[in-house]
Amino acid sequence: MDRVPILRMGRTLLVTVQVDMHDQLAVRLLDDLTAMITKTRARGVLIDISALDMVDSFIGRMIADVAATSRILDAQTVLVGMQPAVAITLVELGMALPGVRTALDVERGMELLDAARDH
């Protein structure tokens, strides 16, 4: 069964999406991440989508759901690496991803998570 791997780095979960996800794969990732946050008591989730050349409304909703679910479970989600063409298209589609924190790359995303934890 296809799965997007989730890496654990201390209290942070790192997901690098590298395949063109079909809907079931996106749903499975949300389920897996939610289970992992609880199991590992993670405080942060970093999702790197720099390899994705398209985000449609379904994948966009999955990302928003991860952010909302993790917040309820006391973990911050940061989305990093979105390509400019993907961002423009997503906004035009009508999805501005409110409530999802973003950073340009993994390094800045990590800083954001570290800063959030210190407060």
Binding site: D20, M21, H22, D23, Q24, D53, M54, V55, D56, S57, F58, G60, R61, Q83, A85, V86, I88, T89, L90, E92, L93, G94, M95
Partner: protein, 140 residues
């Protein structure tokens, strides 16, 4: 004289839409066509995203169907025409279905209205209990 080797005609591509993975195939074929038509990265991204939304609509609401993706031209400009056909229940109120946020499924209701914003031409025909056909064109 040996017969000339000709490139197979790839200007028209048909993709069956019967399951989740087929939506990904539609995206890939739409990307191929965009590249053949000389689209920029942004134009390609918009076309591929519209293709994904419309293919999912055909699957979720129409119970599956097929897509035809072809390169088209008008004078000197080139574009990609995409047609999504299903034989599902049809859409009783198209105006309502086009509105952002209107959904009968599990999505966000951005499929039709959202994809219309990503293309230059958008045409939808639907007959209750006969099916739906959406035709879109994006020009370079």
């Amino acid at each position: 004289m040996p017969p000339a080797i000709t490139e197979p005609d790839r200007t028209v591509v048909r993709v069956e839409i019967a399951e989740n993975e087929d939506v990904v195939v539609v995206r890939q074929r739409a990307r191929d066509q965009a590249q053949r038509a000389g689209f920029s990265l942004l134009e390609t991204t918009k076309l591929v995203t519209a293709a994904s939304e419309l293919a999912r609509n055909a699957l979720e609401h129409g119970g599956g169907g097929y897509a035809i993706l072809e390169i088209c031209s008008e004078g000197s400009r080139r574009g990609v025409r995409m047609q999504f056909v299903d034989e599902g229940p049809g859409i009783p109120d198209i105006e309502q279905a086009m509105r952002d946020g209107y959904t009968t499924g599990k999505g966000l209701g951005l499929g039709l209205g959202g994809s219309r914003r990503l293309v230059n031409e958008f045409h939808i025909e639907s007959a209750v209990s006969r099916g739906t056909k959406v035709t879109v064109v994006r020009w370079r």
